[in-house]
Symmetry: C2
Subunit: 503 residues, 2 copies
């Protein structure tokens, strides 16, 4: 049927196509049927909503569609029913545990990006991957297909470095130090990061405290070619868009199939043109990867996948058993990172990890001799060159380069937990710390989070402060206090761990 477009001011989380009741009946269309809208060279797939609010001769489109496709009010289009996408056959092949060919994976990814596959099919694909897995041939094909169905960047300033943390450790503002150190050494590092999904602050959330993080690929190219670095939000770009779609199913099911995780991370690096990639794999209780053996296996997978993509990849297994530094939450972390860059010093865990990772990158990029990377990274940090590079990044990204840590506003509703007993800190629960910061409002409330005064192994006396919660409202502060009381974020034990009485 031919129809005039009516743009409907709504976001449904899918491409919704509204059709008049009578016309739907005539065309034998039912709610949620897949249809395609054709106009000139563009074809857009969507899900039918039947409504008498739409007149005959009209077709309503939800604004979700306009995020990637342009339609104008009154534009004449053709709406056609669409059969089952071919790629469903390949999803079924994976259900049967068979290996997918390159072209089959490409078809699945293309159909995901084109929205020909919807929640049902994508969830089935993700579930099949969780159960039956992917081998390295399939992962490489998936990675390349995910990158090539989105936008790709070609930065004219080589070599291009990248660093990615698998995540899970609260307070991990490390890369905010790593990027300026590496760029200050003359290497190129166009860092894209995500916002927090389950954590209290993603790198993009922290950087946003200083500067803008949403840029187009052209703007990123200009910035990076000028100063060698950026720290932007990947989500604003059309990098590996299939990943942004499949993640919805992964999140609803709280699964993260290994092959898909590898492809998700590496497709974005591939799209950004990264040549040398360092994967930081925090390892310990309460993070994604709990054992060193699992971390090693994962590192090997990244390295092997890198080879297939023509990238040189290294993995760094880092200690993830407790938070990094002393702060958790966007503004508090921004303060701590900025302070470390300005003074060249800071909490041991932050400085050691940042210079360690930066050092590996300096060696990978050929600007530091083998074994000398970390020393060079520390010199760059202490000399103020990294801070100078950070100022350039902030300025190019539209922030105020003169900002001081103490000028960054943090939540002024605070509550401090103290040690109920004397003893040693025997454990800090990553998940509980993240939970408290989120209960306090992080990452949406930039000023929310917490300051930690103790680390594992330290001795405390009864009444010593353990951590202070910051929130922007009393209500969120109360929520965080309640959450903190329900969990045991910090464990204190005497040297006598157990007392055995007379038997």
């Amino acid at each position: 049927m031919k129809a005039k477009v009516r743009i409907l001011d709504m976001y449904s989380g899918r491409y919704s196509v509204f059709i008049n009741e009578k016309e739907a009946k005539k065309a034998k269309l039912h709610p949620d049927d897949l249809v395609k809208i054709e106009a000139g060279k563009k074809t857009v797939y969507g899900s039918v909503v039947i409504s008498s609010l739409i007149k005959e001769g009209e077709v309503g489109v939800s604004k979700d569609i306009l995020q990637l496709h342009s339609f104008s009010e009154g534009e004449l289009v053709t709406v056609l029913p669409s059969g089952a996408p071919e790629s469903v056959r390949y999803i079924k092949k994976k259900m049967r545990g068979e290996k997918l060919r390159k072209v089959e994976i490409e078809t699945i990814v293309k159909d995901i990006v084109d929205r020909k596959l919807r929640d049902i099919e994508i969830s089935s694909f993700v579930t099949s991957l969780e159960i039956n897995g992917l081998d390295m041939d399939e992962i490489a094909a998936l990675t390349i297909a995910m990158a090539e169905t989105g936008d790709m960047l070609d930065i004219d300033r080589k070599p291009i470095m990248d660093v990615h943390s698998i995540g899970g450790v609260p307070g991990n503002k490390t890369n905010i130090l790593v990027v300026p150190i590496v760029a200050a050494a003359g290497l190129t590092i166009p860092k894209t990061s995500s916002r927090a999904i389950t954590s209290a602050a993603g790198t993009a959330d922290v950087v946003e405290v200083f500067a803008e993080v949403s840029f187009s690929l052209d703007e990123i190219k200009r910035i990076v070619e000028k100063i060698g670095a950026c720290m932007v939000w990947g989500g604003a770009l059309n990098l590996a868009p299939a990943d942004d779609i499949t993640i919805k199913s992964e999140r609803a099911l709280s699964i993260d199939p290994t092959g898909l995780m590898l492809a998700s991370i590496m497709s974005k690096k591939y799209a950004m043109g990264s040549q040398y990639v360092l994967i930081d794999i925090p390892t310990g209780k309460g993070v994604k990867v709990e054992t060193v053996d699992a971390a090693r296996a994962l590192a090997r997978d990244f390295i092997e996948l890198g080879k297939r993509l023509g990238q040189y990849v290294e993995g760094a297994i880092t200690y993830g058993g407790q938070p990094i530094g002393h702060t958790v939450g966007p503004a508090l972390e921004a303060r701590e990172a900025l302070s470390a860059l300005m003074t060249g010093t800071g909490p041991g865990s932050l400085i050691e990890k940042a210079t360690g990772l930066a050092g590996v990158l300096l060696e990978m990029g050929g600007v530091a001799p083998a074994g000398m990377g970390k020393k060079m990274a520390r010199e760059i940090l202490e000399s103020g060159k990294a801070y100078q590079k950070m100022r350039e990044i902030i300025e190019e990204q539209g922030g105020n380069p003169d900002i001081k840590p103490e000028e960054i506003p943090v939540g002024d509703k605070t509550y401090t937990f103290t040690a109920p007993t004397s003893g040693y800190i025997t454990g800090i629960d990553n998940r509980a710390i993240t939970g408290i910061a989120r209960a306090a409002g992080a990452p949406e409330d930039k000023g929310a989070g917490l300051e930690l005064y103790v680390k594992v192994g330290e001795k405390v006396k009864e009444g010593d402060p353990l951590f202070t919660i910051h929130a922007e409202s009393e209500a969120r502060l109360d929520q965080a206090i309640v959450f903190a009381r329900r969990t045991e974020p910090i464990r204190i034990e005497g040297m006598v761990l157990q007392r055995i009485g007379n038997i």
Copy 2:
């Protein structure tokens, strides 16, 4: 948030809950988030659509919700975000290949019916079942949970018989003869059937040619207690509603996991109070069950499941290698079935199968001695008693009991295919026959379908008619002709099947 209900005239295929942009931001709700609407004792789950078309203080609900829940315009309700449903954990357990406990299956089914689980989770469940399967304990728990989360019928006229065909054979109007034969013998048989999904005519589509098929459970109870039988559409009832929801995923993925298929069929029988159930398993090339071994295994599963449900079940493996009778399509099949009931004769395949199945039921129900059921069924058919019962059914279901076969309108746009060569009919392709009838417009166009003049094994001469396509419009007739030419619905071979030349 508190809000006044606004009923939106639309069907989206899901429970859509429209929320104003500002309020969504305040409540941190995103498109497609799960929310619950609470009003008094009722709680309804739905998916967020964010729209400035809805005012602050209002919440829009799509009409999909009103099919099972009552809301009035302006009713004051509370809208709350809903966390991830507990049952996702059990779906993940099945992903890992573990056995589910009864209470876990009950929770999944309840969450499906409550719409707490949506496409993503349901598709993941269905995919996990396809890959990892269910054992009989799990299937029994699933069957009972599916029945008990819907409406159930208690007919005061025992014993209650039922017959179900697994389907896949074109032209299978058999049960339209079986039901009146069984009821004429004094047994009770409240038959619910489906409309065609992938076939050219479901039993409900054919019956609808004579009479209404949509009735409430109360009406069904009244009809069956009066005349001992009905032939209604199960889809209009709230029998095992979880099945109606999961089928959406199965259809999109074109999978039908065995455990779910068993539960789907038997939950409806259980809800109808059936005590004696005969499962017709057509077997042959081009139907769901291709080999006798597979049919036997399936029959054993049905029998075992019946035992768990307190039902006596038998399986009948029937020949499904070619269409039943000579007609395919609702009106054409209705003509053939009615004619057989009126005259007591008809195509061998139809009469043999119908009296065979009815005979088994007569023996199961204790009205025929062992081994005498088929003979008794044939007598009931030939005596006109089955036709008399059919007239009662038609009358009670609001149709015209005096209708004659030739009065049933069939598509008047016709085209006849003839034998291109002389020889023997060596094969009739079920899938091609169904495809032709559907291309001609069946099952929506009641008069569309085809008449078959030949059966496997028969001898034909070049130019003999093979089949006539009926359609209600020239356009559909053309589509069916094109489809027929592309396939090889009827295979004719000489006695010399292959000619080997000089090597």
